[in-house]
Symmetry: D2
Subunit: 470 residues, 4 copies
């Protein structure tokens, strides 16, 4: 499964109140964007308190941790999925900076492409790093620019001149909440207003819903939004610099179906993908079933377009989590079945269309197809609501290196044979660009077509922190 | 929400092997039947080891606990939901009895109606109880009958002469696995065979699937199945004594949709309930949406019968669990939204049919309807895939006392007004009896119509252990 | 090291108050008598609440557990050390019995010699056991006698007719606190009064000190003390039945030096042992050092009698606990040193007398002597403030089987050679009987001389629960 | 009670091995120097792994954490007591710096007096701080000097030009272990060699003993020792710059009695303090008792000098730890008794000399004296083996501000009256300087006489991180 790296959340209100609880609720709605670590930092009239640790939001924040954070008028929070083999506690966010010029807390979703270079320069100037994350690089730059700048937003503008890649940021100073999105808009970021006159920023609109905020708009690529006692202001000096490049996989898999991104509801985009798939790869079949959870929306769209009845064919055990113990060797083949069990009555004797959102190595779907056949399906036709993965991603997801991507080494026919499908149809890159409707341009599809909107990082594929030093 | 009390699992194989791991996997598939406690007992050539505690299966059994249980050739396991205000560790099952006549482990799903009487008699004979559960009563009776009996199965027959009510049992002796179902068959219990020649028994067939066993058949009401080196035998002395009375709510809500009960797939029964609802309470609407997870199957059936398009209108946050912290007062109205968020594009401007499985107090669905209307629905028509709850259950579920059941105090029209629905339609009791298809008779519908298949317990509604003594 | 099995504590007061906190404090003072499990049961006007688990008192009872127990007017508590390979949670005490005749909580220190027989009889009557402890046998008997008796104290009298061996009991009924000591008085048990008019019973007087109670007196062997609203009464029907046989090792090692047992302060008994040793085994030396902690008192006595200066020669790391990780093989020889480190200046170039309380296998003291010699001692003369262990104990301590007792297989000279001592002197059995001063008779010295005050248990040395059961 | 801030440990060996286990064992022996947090960093041929957290050494390092650290050839470790209200995890050490010039791990015992100034300068250069500890300041300076230096030891020399105050450091680079001590030698630091040819450095020699290392010598004030494949070298550029100023309280209280500091065994220094006290404040009494644990050594010395018999009069509950729950209000006066219980037989009717190591606020000793009188002492004469605390400490201990020091506001007679002592005698500052024998000069006694060996820090007494920041 492909993983997103992070989700960010921020809240500002004029009076002190339960902003930590609000951030908790917002992060809880963003939990699907990162399950490895969570954190919240709060400003209580300029005094910062924070807590972060590895674990789910509900694990990191027990009742007493929220109580300890107490009330405040600004809070920022983060959920993290770690791709780089450093899942430890020290990489959890927000990064809280104590500094004479004013404390600061930084949350970041995305990956910079020039972070190695920036890091080396900072190290040569005598900076020391406690983490391996890009967020610490950004924190350093922001601190250093702040020394020269009249305000933190001015400093952030200067930082954005220096960093390149994907970033959706929320930053808290003792008195302000800042939100910023990179000039290509790789990752989503939106802002809403609260009934009490406050404001919230979040990676996805579902987090605004969760805290009772009303989605006002999404940040433009390159925009900085500043919320303070002076109200909300916008800095657009980095807007319209670059071509838009929203990650199309946000629609296909990462985001929650109830979120709205660039004006398009994710559920609609997935239904649309299903419709386009039905048109591109028609099939004569008895039932269309989706792989829970992300395949369900597209399956409904496929059904509507093709007339093939939609049904629930696979039941997901909702208690599957990180702590489930892998069965012993003897039971290994039962692994997939512990998560997904077929309903015989829906499948037996049928020609089945199976809709999933992606194929990475192909092993999981192969086992699933094997189970569906064992359950009595006469035919299994696989439709994938994304194009084949062919290239790595440098913008904050963990799409594997090419040698592990089945599509990078095999034709569609070979893949179909490997996974045991009667037919296999992917969404085309062209169709993928159409799924959010009106905004058919401006998507990043680099993992499918290799057209990277930025320079590829110098040290792509290497992780120098894992190497012995000297 | 209504809760089931328990799920049971047992496994027997000729040679020593990872039966604890198998029981773990089986219980994991039964987790929806009880989330408060879990336990496994294992027989390693007659030596018993066991572990049980409060928590989910994956919490109670970390890797080292399974390792400590080690290998064996028989295992029994249990998941528990506690209804009686005694959620503590001491009520976790299996109950493991150390006794000169041979050790024994007992797992039970259901509630006896004469347990208070039996308990008093046992106490008058000098027995002491460590728990408040019926299972300990059964364990005592089984121990005492065993002293007089040639075999444990003979003892179990005698015990079944004395106990009345709902029980699906799995019992482990040092050499045998027993499974037994009460003469009315209130709770499901099935048996399957393993590829290695062994056998497994489980509350639901989805647990057999999970361990790679093939469903052989369900136990008949009143049947005892004995598995040992001598093979599988069946004792039917208590069969055909009573009218069948399978809990219809197993189909409507408790069981997993992929399980087969009395020959009927639960998913099919739910689709059928949706079809019957569509016929009984037709409505002119634009979209039919189900309340996840249990309302989805019936919604698909309703759509197929009515022609109203099915869509996903509510997104469930899959990370909601027991540890989620209730928001502060200010955020209380957001509570439902943290679990279920509407998709505006599916709902806005539409006449919506909302399908749920039951209404207890009516407060949750009222909040949900409020949210759906706020999201822009023009009309909200509620359809419930069960009849109204009017009476308490004495057979192992926690259906509330009548004063808390909205339907017991209000007409359908009043309820509709209270919850804010334009129209409200319940499944009729007659239709409820039809949902499993061919076996249209033999269901317990006492919570709907008050026709109790047994005598009502003498102390119904009281819990003497909560009272001060002397 | 030899371990005691248990400590017991009970408290009664007229008005409801923090009796759980008092029991906690009392058990904390008795922690040295058992570190494996702890538990408290409380009666709040007849409603029982209890909590018990494996761990130290401070681990089992976090703040919220004490809060959950709440206030009450009676409480009993227990600390446990398990000798029999069943350290699990199920053997923790108190045993709380729920019964129509009245609830009850039982705490026990000691071992019965006829428990196997009693247990078999109970099992033949259909009783089931959840634990392997003698306490459950006593609980059963007490329950059964209670059915026939006018009062719980009458029932306890009858139980004392049937049980044989070592037992100091505290029992709580909904309205009474009972304390009872076996007719030989193997284990200590005392009673004191509280400033608020209440009473407390405890294994040792140090627990009375800890809760601010004033030691009133020790229970006579065979006595039952009953505390209730009617005041304090005493039942002496089992007194003077048998010869007194207080375990002499309570003085030598088990009890805290500040406790008073049978009128003699433990510290005094230990100083006396040191004096008697100095007289029996004189030596020409430069310094006398004790092995912390229990050897220190005797060393001071030895110094006073011999004129050899007392000094601190070994420093104990006070953070050593159960969780300390055994060093890797390479560091194994450092093990003893992690607990006890010599002070070179005290030892180097000196003729050292080393005073310890006992030798079991001899391996630890051998390592210690090796370290002391390495540190530069010219001579090491070992004096042991107990006689050599030659026989197993059946009364509640874990003195090993004879094949593991170095003294049972070797002469004093051989032992001295094995452990590397220049000379080795034990306290004689005659002298051991003199250490508590005035009460020079009435001590159990069976582990030294084999003169068992009771019949030896039929199944001595076997643990049938570890055997496979068919 | 006065607390030390930290203990440090380092180990280097040529071949890969269990250095993490060795560091664990060494830190375990230094646990008395800090109980709030612990950490170990290891270099496995240049690859760094580390783990640190709040808690005791045995809590922070469970078996699997040590396993995860694995083998290596260098390790450094730290135990921490936090004085500044920031006990959190982020201040745990070692501080591990990832840097292109080479990774580094830094452990520090002591307090700088110019850290605020240094920190401000660093922040003005754009440095960001994650912690509030001086160690991070040192880590920054070391990193920055390293950019300009030929070697890490050269960088450390330069850092020592810039920092002022108390510091004993151990630093690990990928290939070297460095140990350094400030030019006044406030805190101890020693080095020893291992049987395998390796070397260990530690705050106290007892940690060398624990790992089987032989104390070679203590570092000179101002010395840097470098251990690498090239062997052991010493840099003395900062030696003899300043007057020696070893903290005298290391002898009186902080260090373990078995440690050797500046050639003097701590136990000897304490005995010496007792002897000097006996001479300065003679008394006619029946028994001398020490307050465990640190008063015992001095009490033995007092006894030897005065002829008054030494005995054990107070028994310490060795299970008292951080998790012990403070008793309810009603039991508050029992608090001291839960830790220290008097032995009546030793005290009753006697004129008692009570020896303790220090008086801070006077409340604890007042309660203790009250208890001793209640136990029947005829007179209580208090002797303190340190001079009165009159001034705060800026060198790494948490001696309170003057308003809380009883001696700063009251005469000796007033203090005696307040605590309820018949007489009270302190060690004089002149005598305190004599306790380590031969090295009667070169001790820091600032907390007693206000003669600070360095400039007093500019912001003494303030903690700017607790202030709101705008």
């Amino acid at each position: 499964m492909i993983h997103e790296e992070c989700g960010v959340f921020g809240i500002w209100q004029a009076k002190s109140g339960p902003v930590a609880q609000m951030a908790y609720t917002g992060l809880f709605a963003l939990q699907h964007r990162g399950q490895e670590a969570a954190g919240i930092a709060l400003s209580d009239r300029g005094v910062f308190r924070h807590h972060k640790d590895v674990g789910l939001v509900s694990e990191v924040f027990a009742k007493d941790e929220l109580d300890r954070l107490g009330e405040g008028n600004i809070a920022v929070g983060h959920v993290r999925y770690s791709t780089s083999g450093n899942p430890g506690r020290s990489n959890a966010q927000p990064i809280v900076v104590r500094h004479g010029k004013g404390n600061m807390a930084v949350c970041h979703n995305g990956n910079l492409v020039n972070s190695t270079l920036l890091r080396e320069k900072l190290e040569q100037k005598g900076c020391i790093f406690h983490t391996t994350s890009d967020t610490e690089v950004i924190s350093y730059l922001l601190t250093q620019e702040r020394l020269e700048s009249g305000s933190i937003e001015e400093a952030l503008e200067r930082v954005m001149d220096r960093i390149d890649g994907a970033y959706s940021l929320v930053v808290m100073s003792p008195t302000k909440l800042l939100a910023a999105r990179d000039p290509r808009g790789f990752r989503p970021l939106c802002i809403g207003h609260l009934p009490n006159g406050g404001f919230a920023a979040a990676s996805e609109s579902c987090a605004l819903d969760a805290v009772g905020a009303r989605l006002e708009r999404e940040l433009e690529p390159g925009e900085i939004v500043v919320v303070s006692r002076e109200g909300v202001s916008s800095i657009r000096s980095h807007c319209l610099q670059s071509t838009r490049a929203l990650c199309v996989f946000e629609y296909i898999y990462f985001a929650r179906p109830d979120s709205v991104i660039e004006g398009c509801t994710v559920h609609d985009a997935r239904r649309c993908a299903g419709k386009l798939l039905a048109a591109a790869h028609p099939v004569d079949a008895d039932v269309i079933i989706g792989v829970p959870d992300s395949g369900l929306d597209a399956a409904i769209g496929f059904s509507a377009a093709s007339g093939i009845p939609y049904d629930v064919g696979l039941v997901k055990n909702k208690y599957v989590g990180r702590t489930f113990i892998a069965p012993s060797q003897e039971l290994r083949e039962q692994m997939v079945r512990n998560k997904l069990n077929p309903i015989r009555r829906v499948i037996e004797g049928k020609r089945v269309v199976l809709l999933d959102d992606s194929i990475v190595r192909g092993t999981t779907i192969a086992q699933l197809i094997h189970i569906i056949r064992e359950t009595g399906a006469k035919e299994v036709h696989v439709r994938i609501s994304a194009p084949p993965f062919l290239h790595p991603c440098y913008y904050g997801t963990d799409i594997d290196s090419e040698e592990n991507l089945i599509a990078a080494r095999h034709s569609v026919e070979e893949t179909a044979a490997f996974i045991g499908a009667d037919t296999l149809g992917y969404l085309s890159v062209e169709d993928a660009k159409k799924i959010p409707g009106q905004m058919g341009c401006g998507l990043c599809t680099a993992c499918f077509d290799g057209c990277y909107p930025t320079q590829v990082p110098r040290d792509a594929g290497k992780n120098r922190f894992e190497q012995p030093l000297f």
